[in-house]
Amino acid sequence: MNRRRTAQNQDGRDGGGGTRSRRAMLAATAGLTVSSSGCLRGVRNIVTPDNIGQLSVSITTVPADSARQNVRIARHLEEHFEAVGIDVSLDIRSDIDFLRTVLYDHDFDVCIGRHPGGTDPDFLYEALYSRYADESGWQNPFGYADQDLDQLLEKQRRLSSDDRSTVITEILESIATEQPFVPICAPEEHRVVRTDRFDGWENGHLATRHGYLGLEPATGVEALRVSHADARPTENLNPLAADYRRGGTITNLLYDSLATQNGTDEIRPWLAESWDWDGQTVAVSLREGCEFHDGEPVTAEDVAFSYRLFKDISLGALEAPSPAPRFRGQVDAVESIEIRDDHHLEFTVETNETVGERALLVPILPAHRWRERAAEVLGTGDASIAQGTTETVVTNNVPAIGSGPFQFVSRTEGDQVVLERFEDHFTSRTAVDLPEPTVDDCTFFIDPGSVSASRAVADDARDVTSLPLDANAIGGVEESGSVERIESASWSFYFLGFNARRAPFNNYRFRRVIAGLIDKQWVCNEIFHGYARPVASPVIEEWIPESLEWTGNDPEVPFLGTDGELDVDAARAAFENAGFRYDDRGRLRVRH
């Protein structure tokens, strides 16, 4: 099938009078083809005596319904793959399926996605540390393993201030040269809010719990109507389920963490009243009298339990510990936890204070509800993770019982999640100077997409869009007296991920050429309508070293063309320079 298709490919090019029009090539490749599954590749190896053949790559991403930009980047890339003689197919999967395929099953060649990123560059430890390569989750989904980078990643966790900054620059430079994944662009975050019903939108970042607390309702307003353009939380409210979580905004309202972070602000005490550093230990004092939504007290035991569970979701039931698919890098900083009494714990960390405090941002779960979920589950046919699947990651956790400022009331699948104010939350105490829930009800209504969501706010059916608007919806927001578009700090980024477990994606030379096939500037202008900036580094702006600043083109892997148009000859020459070969029909050859 592959041969027939490439034969047509060749005809198409000849028919075009020798001009390499990508559109003509695309049209000509409309022959029958099947994505390159391992099985098919196996069959092909039996029928063809040698194992050298055209490189087949599938690009995994989500449909436009989930995020319009991803599939557009994927098609931009697809066009350029075709042009350089790679047999390419698109693998479009729903949000849940995409995350399971990429994060859990590692069953992809390359993928286009939005990485949650981080306000501190330490998230790169989780993303690229080689010891995580075999685990499922946000921990090293790329299967990347580089000894030098490992050492740098470890080092930045230990060093402080200026020394740390130097190492982080080295890390970013290493990423830029090796391209373990390609950071494409950093999107701006825009949301639509109604100012006639609530004031104080600018105080809290709407990707965090702070965006929904401390709001000032107009008189008579008792409900916060949130538009959420992602139906996944109506199916599942498990803070550990990486396949259902985006930023975890809703679960952060339901669950408290010891510390909290409002956007890019510094990390502050939350469920912990305070903490004291002494070398590598930190003494944490919990607020007294806190309760979970079912009335059980929040104790030091729940805190210690939560960290134990994140480190091993089987709580010792499996032969080897099975770390959770979220929070891996954060929790790994904690070496041990000692319970001093009901409200005092001592954490020993292996890191500096900056990284150590990030470990305090994970949700605190009620031990009495999660302990029994540590049992292994087999053959659920649902999600399964490489390190061992237990109920902990597959439960939909409905109703979600946390200790957060809002508690779960009900949900309708595909339609809405209803929360209400948790009266006993510590933020409501007069002595506590933290933003509190100011409305009785907080309902997340599921609207189908950014455009509908912002319209629903304009029509006074909703008060706020919780997720940042897709770039195509931003320009269309009509601001009037009571409808405002607000921009907030952003730390996520779009990326092209390689599965380094599969050749030739394990070869940095190959990855670098691929990175040169994406015109990041063009992507930002055309696909993001200017609401994103092209990046060579996956961290927030203040961490980007001068050497890696954007200078109209990528400083390390510049686009092999101009204005979105690939210079096909230059790109093919780049592959040849990297040690790859073309056959007499212009197909990029690899050994399978």
């Binding site: 479009i92 699948e413 509908s452 059916a461």
Partner: protein, 286 residues
């Protein structure tokens, strides 16, 4: 949001139906229906029951199906895309704002009307066979469609080339309609196009009954063709989905002819009923 769109739909259909009954059916048939409706309903009862059952299963399954699909379905999006490429973009070349409006209205209102009207029209025929065939064909469309939806995961053109179809994309022009379509279907269910297959089914029946409803026939054909084209024009379906929809329609119309009156459910039940009636007095006298 959903409620508003639904109310609009009900109002539009509520206006269209009486008008079209007056134009296409006529007073005479209505009068006869008033006196015969009981016997006709009794004759068609089992078929109505089967259709309602299929619709109910369909409704329940559509909620569970995406999850099941995720586990056992095969991904065919790239396959469709590789076969037909940017074929549906030819409709972009004829796009105008007027056509946008025409096809959007056809997709939502025209389609709903097209499905409901023949049910009423054929009920006014003294012979209930064509009525029962129509309902059987509907039931088959939904049943076969549901099975294909479970096994085939495919996204439509709008999900692959959003920028190219954005000028004519139904949900880009009229995002409010997505509230209603998501109630009915999931975005991975594009193969086959049930819009096309059900519309084509209606057109086929309009052809069969053109001597009874001569004025309906051309209207049904134009409307059905418009619905099929609208699915591609609006960026919802691939050409392959529409082709499969046409095949499914042909299959269902043919099957409805073979199946209806093959087993008479009412006779079957009447036999049993008679048996009970015979048995009961006998038992009582014993």
């Amino acid at each position: 949001m959903l409620v508003e769109v639904l109310i609009q739909l009900v109002v539009v259909i509520g206006i269209l139906l009486p008008l079209s009954i007056a134009v296409f059916v006529g007073r005479e048939r209505l009068a006869r229906t008033r006196s015969e409706w009981r016997t006709r309903l009794r004759a068609a009862g089992p078929t109505v029951g089967v259709l309602l059952l299929i619709l109910l299963i369909n409704r329940l399954a559509r909620q569970r199906a995406p999850r099941l699909s995720r586990e056992i379905g095969i991904h065919l999006t790239s396959w469709f895309y590789n076969i037909e490429g940017e074929f549906i973009l030819i409709f972009q070349s004829i796009a105008t704002p007027e056509l946008n409006t025409y096809f959007s209205l056809t997709y939502i209102y025209g389609y709903t009307f097209l499905l409901i009207f023949p049910v009423i029209a054929y009920f006014t025929l003294s012979d209930t066979r064509i009525f029962r065939r129509l309902l059987t064909a509907y039931a088959l469309n939904y049943a076969i469609g549901l099975v294909l939806y479970v096994f085939i995961i495919a996204y439509g053109p709008r999900n692959l080339m959003p920028a190219e179809v954005t000028e004519t994309m139904l949900f880009d022009i009229n995002p409010q309609y997505r509230y209603i379509t998501r109630e009915v279907n999931s975005n991975t269910n594009v193969f086959p196009s049930l819009h096309t297959s059900l519309s084509a089914t209606v057109a086929a029946f309009a052809a069969i009954t053109r001597s009874e409803f001569p004025r309906w026939f051309p209207v049904a054909v134009v409307l059905a063709a418009s619905v099929a084209i609208s699915t591609m024009y609006l960026g919802i379906h691939w050409g392959i989905d529409v082709a499969a929809g046409l095949l499914l329609a042909a299959l269902c119309v043919e099957l409805s002819d073979r199946l209806v009156d093959r087993w008479s459910l009412s006779e079957l039940f009447e036999d049993q009923l008679r048996q009970y009636e015979e048995r009961l007095p006998w038992e009582r006298s014993d």
